[in-house]
Symmetry: D2
Subunit: 330 residues, 4 copies
């Protein structure tokens, strides 16, 4: 951390800050410039409350040197984390594919799609039972009934289940049925939910918030890890930009940033990012080319009747073509 003092900061204020920082366990190096004074802090800066320093009227600004996340930080954990769910892994050198409908709608719908994506080579089955919707008047999911159908689909296909946890109250029931618990973009900074996820023994799939930075995503992962659950998978799913042609804007450089900053695996959800089925295959190829550890793809056999996200769902034969494309790249 570097404290930049204003040009008119009196010597005694600077000395007071130096002593305060030293008392918190830091070493302080002062550099006297013509128009400012720099205080370079090294040592254990964790006890420093930046807000208290910034509240000093002679402090111009603070410059942060280190990332605030520790457990998620590659610096302190150089090796890649690989998540293993009943022999299916996410992380390392292969591309793990999670596929399935946006929402679980019925037994027939789910079983049809599950069998189809299994045959095309997906490793995990996705499907929403509790749905976070921006309108209270939209379909909110089949809830526990949906979870039971997912369990049935798992029994039939062997694919572990990825499904969303929306809140504390329904966490237990989702945890009981799901194999990987997804925290959605709207909940990336729902700190109570993150803490609850940190107490689970199931891996957590944490999606990046629509306007979140990579560092904020990693701070949210840190919340989970600080409670004891080290099995966190990150997911880039598009960010909000001024572009209106796509639903969101897929940020593939975030995959590279996450891999540089953290040891956690990172996957890509092109379906939500673009919102248009015709873009899903080329964006999936791009995600693989950039080095993502996996893909999460929405598939529906009848998009025009889907209760949610029909416009971005691939029909089964198009998902098959996507899987073929990915394999060719490998």
């Amino acid at each position: 951390m570097v404290i930049v003092m204003k040009p008119d900061a009196p010597r005694e204020v600077i000395e007071k800050i130096e002593k305060k920082m030293q008392s918190l366990g830091c070493q302080v190096h002062l550099s006297q410039g013509e128009n400012y004074v720099l205080l370079g802090l090294v040592g254990d800066t964790r006890k420093i409350n930046p807000s208290q320093i910034e509240a000093n009227e002679y402090v111009d600004k603070l410059l942060k040197v280190q990332q605030s996340f520790k457990l998620a930080n590659r610096t302190f954990h150089p090796e890649d984390t690989v998540i293993d769910v009943e022999g299916h892994t996410i992380g390392g050198d292969h591309v793990a594919v999670i596929a399935g409908p946006c929402s679980v709608e019925s037994e027939e719908q789910l079983m049809t799609i599950a069998r189809s994506v299994k045959q095309s080579g997906a490793a995990f089955l996705r499907g929403g039972a509790f749905k976070p919707r921006t309108s209270p008047y939209s379909f909110q999911g089949l809830q526990e009934e949906g979870l039971k159908l997912l369990q049935q689909a798992k029994a039939a296909t062997g694919m572990p289940i990825v499904t969303e946890v929306m809140c504390q109250d329904t966490f237990d029931v989702v945890e009981q049925y799901g194999d990987i618990l997804q925290i959605g973009a709207h909940n990336m900074q729902n700190f109570a939910l993150l803490k609850r996820a940190g107490k689970s023994r199931k891996p957590i799939l944490l999606k990046r918030g629509m306007s979140a930075t990579v560092e904020e995503l990693l701070m949210s992962a840190e919340y989970i890890m600080a409670e004891g659950n080290q099995q966190v998978i990150l997911c880039e799913r598009g960010i909000r930009t001024f572009e209106t042609y796509t639903r969101n804007t897929l940020d593939l450089s975030a995959v590279l940033a996450i891999k540089a900053l953290s040891h956690l695996p990172v996957i890509v959800d092109p379906s939500h990012a673009c919102g248009k089925w015709e873009m899903v295959e080329p964006l999936s190829k791009a995600a693989v080319a950039v080095g993502a550890h996996g893909l999460m793809i929405e598939v529906h056999h009848q998009p025009e009747s889907a209760l949610s996200d029909g416009a971005q769902s691939l029909k089964p034969h198009k998902f098959q073509r996507l899987m073929d494309s990915i394999k060719k790249m490998g």
Copy 2:
């Protein structure tokens, strides 16, 4: 709603969509252009699932005509809503001021600040007991102990309490002590929390998410209202932009937008918006000039020791000056 069909859409596909829309209770008017066909829908469009229409490969796009919020919509409720808490009102023609520390830290701290802001003319006391923090390693609030101190401050000053509800698990306890329950920016789309707030009898102060549009804010208010709680106060607290000089960017035109679109009262939090105490007074005056129904201001007698948000907290004499400025405008 208007459906724009692609130039090459076959007649039978168009007719099928027309019939589907009619079966859902809409009237459909077709306009045949050279390069597209428009289907104008009127009547009850609520049963339409836009995603299913967009999933049709011959549909170019949907154009939305009406806002999705109903209960919060001024069209259907032309008169201003005024919230009354034990005789203190928010809404209408006066400016309600909520003031107090970011976090409740101790009895002495809270009582000192509460007495001071009361004397300067604040109507409501703010103070956080459960704190949503981006780092798991930051101070998380005094929790129930903090709520008890707020109760004590209310007893001493007569000011109703505004305090944050962070999650379902701790909602009951916060609801017991608080008079107005605040939902923070990070939780604006925490739908489970919104539903729980909708079941409360306490007024809800709903803050705009950092990258949310005004329509999204009103949709979140709709979630609360759809559960039965019509007492919602909206709060503009700064949005994320590319500007780095301020913590966020205060969007005062949002106050005008909200007042045009909704009957709900809207207040402004300049402290979080700018993050710098020296900007709080002029931005407060601007908020009043633009027609906000209230202000929410962070005050601390010792900002350099504050456990959170010291840099944006006003000292009591500066808060007094702010209140004097506001009165002069009146």
Copy 3:
């Protein structure tokens, strides 16, 4: 400037950088942390090319301490700049009002509006003769004929003319007729145009780019000033955000940021910011409340026939009401 070295930076690389910086005239202070090394640079850092330092694979990042603008910087020029055009001033304690139509359309249109805004108390007349339009098929302005009409309106009313310079080729002719030369938001980083403006003896009204930071705006002012023209007026005119209810989002805290960082006067254009005439008066009051040195307002006596920006133009009697409101605040 502070250079943050990576944890694994070899001693000889650090020493080489230290020597390089010293040879460029800086003093270097090294702080050895556990996970990084900080090099604090003081002295004359202008000769340092940040890109060359960042190209070193052992450099983690650079932290900038000082603003890059010098001539526009309040640190080196503490007193407010006041621009004087034939006795009408911008800067200091009063609010200078610039008003008129978006585009000059005809003699009758311009003279009607000019006389009206003059009577309501505007000090300067605005009107576009060369119009930057996003579509090549839109009205591009009356060009030199428009400038001649502006001259005629000035002769009739005594109001100095504010009009836009769009490019190098037409700069001379606009400079001949205009009293204050406006550089539009799209051209804020048209560096060739900024340099040409720097050679003019007329004051320049520089509008903030739609996604520009305050620092970038001041760097563009610096371009003008570095060529010799110190008469620069800055203008906040709304930034692009995710909000769609308004055309852009007026950033009033930018006025405070500019006044803190620079000695140059700063005015506000609420018409372009919101794009809706009904918001112009309240936003103007807010701009005055926050301390803007002036306002720029679009006025048209027949908005429904205006060739551009009809939706945001005030009718004369509404402009009169705005002027009355502002005066009451004074």
Copy 4:
């Protein structure tokens, strides 16, 4: 175009608008809803000035149906445009690679890099002679001397030259030496420059502005094409987002959007997008995977001495590796 009237719009106002639209050559279809009236317009809507309609106080909003660009629009020109420069093409099925230094610095520098990228398989040589810099104190390029060096490099290697045109004044000289004339992101809406480019016979490489939408980029292409120059190549080079780890955020879905909306070729500049050399190769592979028609890559043999953009320049052997990776994908 669809006009949405407010609920309280009097019949005579609606009829007046209908007649006005018909007089401009449109057909109007009215749909009467409970809370609004829709006027669907088909036919030739080009003569309509949206601003005049929006200025009507009974108009709620306009909904745009068609894109405003015509010449750049794939609807009216279904086949891909391929640009041919002395036998080297951009467009179609192969990946055209443009490589070279950010700035031309010296004969030795340019010839070294030019020979190297030629040998690695680049088809075009890039190099800046006139440099748009955000600071007036930064290196502004070697100007005409730089152009002569580029000519010399072309003579030695056979690679056509891609170089930037910054302004009207220096357009002629750049046009004389360059084979493809680049318009930079800052100038995407410098309309005077676009018009001048439209009169050139050289192909124009138009970069997307930092906060521009794809539609705005295509409108700028339209400016060039409307003046007669149909040879426009578009370039995605990263947009401004809240992410700070990278310089900008590469938007690869924009490549797909452009290919869907327009017949013009589109290339990707990963170097400027990310600002970090270590990301250039994986992002290049992703750009190829998504279907870009070409790449533009910054290469420097001594990045630590580069006068600009050292941090994002690839050393020659890393550029060779990039070319090898791309070929393998092919």
